[in-house]
Symmetry: C2
Subunit: 363 residues, 2 copies
Amino acid sequence: MRIEDLDTPAVLIDVDVMERNLARAASYARQHGLRLRPHIKTHKIPALARRQLELGACGITCAKTTEALAMMSCDPPEVLIAYPVVGAAKIARLVELARRTEVTVSLDSVDVAAPIAAAARAAGVEIGVLAEMDAGLRRVGVPPGEPLLDLVLGLRKLDGLRWRGIAFYPGHIRSLDEAGQAQLGSLREALWSTVGLLASRGLKPEIVSGGSTPLLWESHTLPELNEIRPGTYIFNDRNTVLSGACRREDCAATILVTVVSTAPDRIIVDGGSKTFSSDRLASSSEATFGEVLGHPQLRFHKMNEEHGFIALDGAPAPFRPGDRLRIVPNHICVAMNLHERAWGVRNGEVVAEWRVEARGRLQ
Amino acid sequence: MRIEDLDTPAVLIDVDVMERNLARAASYARQHGLRLRPHIKTHKIPALARRQLELGACGITCAKTTEALAMMSCDPPEVLIAYPVVGAAKIARLVELARRTEVTVSLDSVDVAAPIAAAARAAGVEIGVLAEMDAGLRRVGVPPGEPLLDLVLGLRKLDGLRWRGIAFYPGHIRSLDEAGQAQLGSLREALWSTVGLLASRGLKPEIVSGGSTPLLWESHTLPELNEIRPGTYIFNDRNTVLSGACRREDCAATILVTVVSTAPDRIIVDGGSKTFSSDRLASSSEATFGEVLGHPQLRFHKMNEEHGFIALDGAPAPFRPGDRLRIVPNHICVAMNLHERAWGVRNGEVVAEWRVEARGRLQ
């Protein structure tokens, strides 16, 4: 089957670009002695997680317990739930996971940890725990230093949990411009001083887990870091290009759409916010929703649910209904989650069909 | 089962509010002699479409052919695909639909219509067609007046298609402020003159189909209009409230989330852009992603994929991990499409579980 034979909209993955992205990160991690534990939220496809494991990943990272269960067919030696697991149903799934593989959870309070510890004890399983440090995003995590030490001391008192180290997510650093460099400097200091403080109490973290795709190639400059959890790097997207962490030609994922209407000033394609998501660019005020491959003059500036509005901006427009475009999305992780399947392509041929198994697993 | 027993995030539908919304629109349509053909993109649940039909809807509207096929268990007497159907796979599904019920498609070019007509002839089915007029959104549709007449004349030449009338979508009118009133005035004029022009050529549209939820209650003021296709009205959302087309207490859908982390200035909940979508408000510069029921002081101002950031803004914060909040989303149509199921609730009890059958049907 060729790309022309696919119905649209469709997520296409250039398998050669994907393999190059995977190999580069695997090689970087090996070179710097970092454990690579990719976040599967980007693809949600067990076969691709399997490929990451084959290339040396130590395990996988997931946000939700339902997502992790849907990924178990990749047979991961370790699963990190990088999310505070709160509520009886979720804790029951965490225990179920712990019966099937080695499971660790990152969280930021003893209140959240205590019921997990109780469930682990009751089930006779051991669950690893990482103390989540706020690296500056002000999302989850306690501040570096004393608050992190207090959290670790609290976690270590809970039978059923095994304290394994520290986790953080530097999602506030979107690129390595001057502001980003300053933020990175603060993060290095926070890591250094916090691990030092733990050491002064005789506490040595087995795992210091961090990293994001924008900061992937800076991971070796973060003191004490020994595990990275990038997600987007497998495909990359416009946000990754803007962050400086990849080149345009490293974007493996495009969305194939069909022109359904034309007018002198615009074309309309059969993908909108239910196909691309309505995510704007993360670090640009430019209000566009994708880059049309091969047509840099086209401006994808607006979406309704099932319509993409592409302005011609005066460019000659030889488009007709039925023409197809490939669009690099702003943020592939949210786009992929809207699709039932994705297609691996190479030189115009469709070489793989993958079901997005963990799509919509929100609980 | 009670709401407390549901895992989160979960879409809750207050069935009494939903029934009131459905009854009000049905009564309005009846009173003004308008055919009501609800767009099912909002809920994507056959049982709810069935309820709309029981209350007098003449059929259903869908955007995509896969979506329509997934809805067929509601047994609709008519299906309108309010979208240009382009491409062999989609046309084959349109023909399949036409074998099962009365099918009409709205489109804006003879180029798009011709292969549909050919497929209908080859299959021995008849497919209705509406000429799409651009009401001002500059999405699909030809301009009112002569271009619309030309389109109708072209469509009438195609064997296999039955020309039934005109369709338009006034999505550019978000509220009835001064600008909205002026746009509504232009739309009235466009309808009046276009239908007059058709009449001068002996062409009488059986169907003049328009309407959106923000303009629902103005439908009777649009000349010649005899069919309306609102979608959101079944649930309503923050956008509908802002448009003036409903009151806050008419919002039937909320998303139940759990607090997973707390800090002095914020709480983090277990729903982000993969739960709510990243849609901002349609007609406000306010960058918030939902209204927290019962806590008007809380500001839901930021999302990552699985995290909702809620600022306390100095308000006292008696929240702990495990607490639950119900949040009215900005745009329920895109939020619903992210969920596998929705729950009907009444007085704290869960009274229905619905699978979102047509979720993710993008083709």
